[in-house]
Symmetry: C2
Subunit: 435 residues, 2 copies
């Protein structure tokens, strides 16, 4: 029995999958472990920055009114009554015609309302009256305005301001902010558990010796890496059993344990493919089982009780592309990212594709540079070994389907696989516009 | 005492640092944990791929010589004597005028040397002689060549072939290859331990309540994230003590525990800056203590008994840029990456910089898209709060120093912070040429 499937456009497939996207719950991790997580709440300033009037320079804190008579050639003299290191606080109120030595970042003492830079004063040491009464003075020849060279409390950030939005990828810069505002424990979105079941009686485990007719299971480990790169927690659930009822129970069981379930293999219409029958028995809603794309046209996605089941192809490159196009944005949406899709770039095509294809193609490629131009070079075209080419790929070159022929040097879209920045659904579907 | 320092060019600073780069040792991790590590050995095929002559299609394995007389309108008939699922092996030698049903990926049985696709035959079921002797035949109307539709053993990859070079970043595609070739344990380069000591008596720990005149230490956590992103293992060593001898002992002690040591703060020529004196006492070779760049001009790098000590600025953005330019490639070279530097892209500048600067500038920026063009938009220029802008930054916009003024829309170099692809030293220094 060969079932006839109606292929749908990639963007329509993405829309259908995304209509089932859900947002994950909040949890907490230590700030030390927060890199690569997604913020679970808006990051809010718990205090003004700066938290106090601060000196941006090494110099002397003074009272602007004391400098009213100072000008070039007419110096005034102020007595230096102390010193404030960074982190120190000067306790007393500074009186008329006094100055306090102040370091960069230190708090302006009470009474002062201006700072004069170290290089704009002359230091004088006076020994007056008695030997032990040694005083230091500064002499300056310019008038200062009130608040001159003072960074005012709250000038950078006001207490209560939202600095980073919920759903933002935590990078080292965000970590600096988390530390500044005292987030020892960081609210993050819980990473989704993504289960992997591989199917195919030809598959051996990674540690097994080769046997005639068999190959080692590579898709499970590839998906494990793809899930982690996308921000999920991979759960290896082993291989399908040979018996339909056992397989069915395996899938039903797995759906209770993970947030998203992937299977690889068993989705085409060959004799040994169980997935369609399992979906049927699960009363799953099949969103699609054929997409106008190469590779990965047999990718099947279904929803069962609010959970998505991705039936990815057993062919490594089809499996890879199916995951990145459909599963990745679901994981990133779970993580509440505002940019759950992969970033695209318009770059020059490094090789011609002269045979038109009715389906959209996603060709494994590599970024290369030539005379200052970025080139999208397909990898592994000379060799059918798709696993080797996946190792080299850092982009997918998108060649829209139809009658078109693609010449070397034409501008095409490259989808970036190793980039964390991301893009919106709209930007992903319609090119790098309205990012 | 204000010391006069001679600033050197960024590229010269990079060259000096890189002359002290060392390669890390090999260790092993489980394949499940290998994502993001760097390969510690060349990845070698432990068997031919395919490991056996294989069928690329669903169809029937036959003997090409049996089809010599077949042509359009003149069918020949072959008896189907069995079936081979993926992973199965057909034990008997196939004799003249016999065929075996074969699935995609299955091993070609002995005696056969061609495969005819399922859709190119007609299936006939014959009941001959006795009721229980039910036989199946296929009928075909074309002649097949020897080896037609057979993927030959070793066609993709030969046993012993180097597939991925030592020092390659392990991505999901590399993981698929590791699984294919039985690497249950993966040889990787050991991640370098990178110590962080923060200095500054104004610093509070992240869980401390704010105190007058003080700020929470944000650089330590920012560096922690930067080290992890670069591929190192961060080791938080706390804050400097207030006393010079204690600080000296702290640094000397730390150098024995880590592969690379970072300090933040204490490198300028202010009154409270211990680092220069510590380096002196350690008899460290100071590679430079002033670079023609903004921010981060006071970045100091020294070598002590073969280990590098990076004296990064206490200013967050200076600290950030100093790390990415100088420490990151040292970590990636330790990991034996062939592309230890950040990737650059030529893109349009989103804002004008009309004041020339004698030093090279590295402006925190963000990629944005406008009408299909990628734009480098500076972040945080309107606000002096550099920590906030670091959270948003995914690029550094490079503006070479000198008399030049940069207009909006000019083509400039963007250094990509969130990209794993990397670049060579030459490509980083001289632009995206000879990648």
């Amino acid at each position: 029995m060969v079932e006839i499937r109606t292929p749908i456009h990639v963007n329509e497939a993405i829309r259908r999958v995304m209509s089932y996207a859900i947002a994950g719950p909040k949890t907490y991790v230590a700030i030390e472990d927060s890199l690569g997580h997604y913020l679970g709440e808006d990051l809010i300033a718990d205090h003004d920055v700066p938290a106090f009037d601060r000196s941006p320079y090494d110099g002397f804190a003074i009272r602007a009114e004391d400098t009213l008579d100072a000008s070039k050639g007419y110096p005034i003299k102020l007595e230096v009554i102390g010193e404030i290191g960074a982190g120190d606080v000067f306790e007393d109120e500074v009186q008329a015609n006094k100055a306090v030595r102040i370091m960069t970042g230190a708090q302006i003492p009470n009474g002062c309302d201006a700072v004069i830079m170290l290089e704009h004063v002359e230091l004088l040491e006076h020994v007056e009256l008695l030997e032990h009464d040694r005083k230091t003075f500064i002499q300056l020849e310019r008038r200062l305005r009130t608040n001159e060279n003072i960074t005012r409390k709250g000038e950078d950030t006001r207490q209560g301001e939202i600095l980073v939005k919920k759903g933002t990828y935590i990078n080292p810069g965000v970590m600096a902010l988390l530390a500044t505002f005292g987030y020892k424990q960081v609210p993050v979105i819980q990473k989704p558990k993504v289960g992997i079941i591989s199917t195919g009686s030809e598959l051996l485990t990674v540690d097994a010796a080769l046997e005639p007719g068999k190959i080692r299971d590579s898709n499970s480990y590839m998906l494990l890496g793809q899930i982690e790169r996308a921000g999920g927690v991979p759960v290896l659930l082993g291989q399908f059993k040979d018996d339909f009822t056992l397989c069915y129970n395996q899938v039903a069981d797995a759906l209770g344990k993970v947030d998203i379930l992937l299977t690889t293999g068993g989705v085409s219409v060959g004799d040994y493919d169980y997935i369609p029958a399992i979906l049927d028995k699960l009363k799953a809603r099949v969103l699609f089982n054929k997409v106008r794309m190469r590779p990965g046209s047999v990718t099947t996605v279904a929803a069962v009780e609010g959970k998505l089941l991705f039936g990815l192809s057993g062919n490594p490159s089809s499996c890879y592309v199916g995951f990145e196009l459909f599963t990745r944005p679901i994981i990133r949406t779970y993580l509440q990212s505002n940019h759950p899709f992969m970033r695209r770039e318009i770059i020059q095509l490094g090789s011609a594709f002269t045979r038109p294809n009715p389906f959209d193609r996603f060709v494994r490629g590599k970024l290369q540079y030539e005379k200052g131009q970025t080139i999208a070079v397909p990898v592994g075209l000379d060799k059918p070994n798709i696993v080797t080419s996946l190792a080299e790929a850092d982009i997918l070159i998108m060649l829209p389907g139809g009658g078109e022929v693609y010449e070397k040097g034409m501008e095409v879209t490259a989808i970036l696989l190793e980039d964390q920045t991301g893009a919106t659904m709209d930007s992903f579907m319609h090119g790098p516009v309205n990012y």
